[in-house]
């Protein structure tokens, strides 16, 4: 009993370290990918080959910055914002399987747990924006509340198709089901598309980064944040991106399973490769497209994604009935 608990705690700690290290890696990767797309080089100096230590330098700098809490903010909400952002980004990883025996908490309601935790993260931008007591942050907070709420619905609807095919909410079961049949991206192309678009909107990345909207709202909800609090928001954002990519890899690309029987590569590596494939796609999209407007964003969600997701569920249901 004691051993099981210790083993669980150890797994959690490993996952935590993994996320934090990966978030730092993502910061560097984003700067490099954006640079190469923009015909530049990106960080080159801090750590001679390709500036690999840039993230470490950035995190150190943010750690040493003065902790400024402006005098007129709502102190409780201001402090709470980054915490609410950071926690769900970490909690989601509890149910994601890294390998055949490596999942921190094999909940049999895995997908439901993820949807629920994701909704908590929604409040982080709103809390920070409202708490900052600043008109720009307020606009940003309103936009984010509308946006994140609207995109929760198609995101969860897209997941339902996968759950119907696998017959279970548990992520390990879903992966096992994909091992028996085929990767669900082949069976759920519509679902995958909806998941990808809604997911990028949920993580607040361009073309859906209206709450941040550098060119319009200066910095939106995090304009009053500096130093470590700001760093927490950003680690949370990259943690969320990573979680979304890991989820896409697990639900649609078979998680840690190897394609074409290439078993000599360890499953953990396959998992990483697939996750980073989605991360790269998300970055590619970010640096290519302009930003949509808030009403166009809402239109996209309510008038396009939700009907498509519902259609997907209907088609999946028909397909299951016909082929089983």
């Amino acid at each position: 009993m004691m051993q099981a608990v210790l083993w669980s705690v150890l797994k959690l700690l490993i996952v935590l370290t993994f996320i934090l290290l990966n978030a730092m890696l993502l910061i560097w990767l984003e700067r490099k990918v954006s640079a190469w797309i923009q015909l530049r080089l990106g960080p080159m100096r801090v750590g001679r080959p390709q500036g690999w230590a840039q993230s470490i330098a950035d995190v150190l700098k943010l750690l040493f910055k003065e902790d400024i809490v402006p005098s007129r903010v709502d102190k409780v909400l201001f402090v709470l914002g980054p915490i609410i952002a950071f926690m769900p980004a970490l909690m989601v990883w509890a149910v994601i399987p890294f390998g055949p025996n490596f999942v921190s908490a094999d909940l049999n309601i895995g997908v439901l747990y993820i949807a629920a935790i994701g909704s908590i993260g929604l409040m982080s931008i709103f809390t920070g924006g409202w708490g900052s007591n600043n008109k720009w942050s307020l606009i940003s907070a309103m936009r984010s509340a509308a946006q994140l709420f609207s995109y929760e619905v198609p995101l969860v609807l897209a997941l339902i198709g996968v759950v119907m095919l696998a017959g279970s909410l548990s992520l390990t079961d879903i992966i096992r089901a994909q091992q028996e049949t085929a990767w669900y991206i082949l069976y759920q192309p519509l679902g995958f598309l909806v998941f990808l678009i809604a997911g990028i909107a949920e993580v607040n990345r361009t073309p859906f980064d209206l709450s941040e909207a550098e060119s319009e709202l200066v910095a939106g909800w995090h304009v009053e944040y500096s130093g470590l609090r700001w760093a927490m928001y950003f680690l949370a954002e990259y943690g969320n991106l990573l979680a979304l990519s890991a989820l896409a890899a697990t639900l649609f690309l078979g998680g840690w399973t190897a394609p074409f029987g290439l078993d000599f590569i360890p499953p953990f590596v396959w998992f990483l490769l697939k996750t980073y494939l989605f991360v790269f796609v998300a970055m590619w999209i970010r640096w290519t497209f302009p930003r949509v407007r808030i009403d166009q964003l809402m239109d996209l969600s309510w008038k396009f994604l939700i009907p498509v997701a519902l259609l997907n569920i209907a088609l999946t249901g028909i397909g299951i009935t016909i082929f089983s």
Binding site: S34, I37, Q38, L39, R40, K135, W136, I139, M142, R143, T206, P207, D209, L210, A213, E214, S215, E216, V218, W287, T288, F289, P290, R291, V292, R293, I294, D295, Q296
Partner: protein
């Protein structure tokens, strides 16, 4: 019951006055816009300017006629040669100076290359405003080649001090033609890339079509000029209507829009780049031999009087109104800046639209605060 209905009719709406302060990533300089918002809808705009006021017109009265030219560079610093051209044309009109043909051709080539450089910068910053950060670097890849050409010819990258009363300062370097033609080839490929990357993008069209509409009557009544006016359907281009220098010798078209929305303004500017490339090619082919400076008196003393000369700058009608009292310094220099006039338009076109469109509107008017504030 009567109280209930009257309470329902007076739905309380809050208007928020927000300050897009002088420091803002998208106001293209130090523009301050006091925007009255109702939710995300703009109800009124009051642009506050003067943060870059450097007393240009007063300084002109203290310097000699030739010493004014570097100051004109710094008003619209993105298209500096066009400013010099406006001032020099006004003074030459007042003095009745003859400019040799070779100098006129060189001036045309420089002005059109400046137009391309200015529109490239506009393209990049407009993409930035809309959230597309990559086109900016692609546009600057082309602009850097152009700036290198300018540096070889004039000695400076941004503020040139090249056009002089009676001609230009020095002749073109030996490999100017080869480098310029190579640049124009790159530009063609670049323009295609820009279309694929930004202008043809569906999200871009959503953000620009049907927004910021300026009708032709409004445009004329509010004194719009340049692409802002032509996008609304008014075919007024100073190079065609009142040809100055040798523009009447070249075959080029002036793109005119139909609806006057942001999209039309963008397309006008993109097409203008192609037309400028045409003009440069024709000018290089027909470039005559000769002097680059005409006969100019040693001490410049224009006769007493007033003169106004306008050029078609990338942003619109850039005019210079000079008054001389017969002395060695100008008595009065009035700078008719197109962006100054266009900023008034913001209130007209931004009302009833959203904040995001307001940013797109500012970008589509293409303002440079150096010119607005002088």
């Amino acid at each position: 019951m009567r109280e209930l209905t009257s309470a329902k009719q007076e739905l309380h709406r809050e208007e928020m006055v927000i300050n897009m302060g002088p420091q803002h990533p998208s106001t293209h300089g130090v523009l301050r816009a006091v925007v009255t918002l109702e939710g995300e809808t703009v109800r009124g705009v009051d642009p506050v300017i003067g943060y870059l006021h450097r007393c240009f017109e007063k300084i002109c009265e203290q310097k000699t006629w030739t010493q004014v030219i570097p100051y004109t560079d710094r008003t619209d610093y993105v298209a500096a040669l066009t400013n010099e051209l406006a001032y020099v044309l006004a003074v030459e009109k007042l003095m009745g100076l003859e400019v040799p043909e070779r100098a006129q051709y060189i001036r045309v080539i420089m002005a059109e290359l400046q137009r391309i450089a200015s529109h490239l910068l506009w393209f990049g910053t407009f993409g930035n405003d809309l959230g597309a950060f990559t086109p900016f670097l692609y546009a600057f890849r082309e602009r850097e080649t152009l700036i290198d050409i300018f540096e070889k010819t004039t000695g400076a990258r941004l503020t040139y001090n090249y056009i002089r009363l009676g001609g230009v300062r020095n002749d073109l370097p030996a490999d100017f033609e080869r480098e310029t033609l190579a640049f124009l080839e790159k530009l063609e490929k670049g323009l295609e890339e820009y279309h694929n990357l930004l202008i043809g993008n569906a999200i871009f069209e959503y953000r620009t079509k049907g927004l910021g509409v300026l009708t032709a009557e409004q445009a004329v009544a509010w004194g719009a000029s340049g692409p802002t006016l032509r996008a609304s359907g008014v075919a007024w281009d100073l190079r065609k209507s009142e040809p100055y220098l040798v523009y009447d010798r070249f075959d080029f078209e002036v793109p005119v829009g139909q609806k006057g929305d942001i999209y039309d303004r963008c397309i006008c500017r993109m097409k203008e780049m192609e037309e400028s490339a045409k003009i440069v090619r024709q000018a290089l082919e027909g470039l005559p031999e000769g002097d680059v400076v005409g006969k100019v008196p040693r001490v410049i003393k224009p006769p007493q009087g007033q003169a106004y000369a306008a050029v078609e700058a990338p942003r619109g009608e850039l005019g210079c109104f000079v008054v001389s009292d017969g002395g060695i310094k100008p008595y009065r220099v009035k700078w008719r800046s197109p962006c100054f006039v266009h900023l008034q338009l913001l209130d007209v076109i931004a009302r009833g639209e959203l904040v995001a469109d307001f940013i797109a509107n500012i970008g589509s008017i293409d303002i440079i605060l150096g010119e607005v504030d002088r």
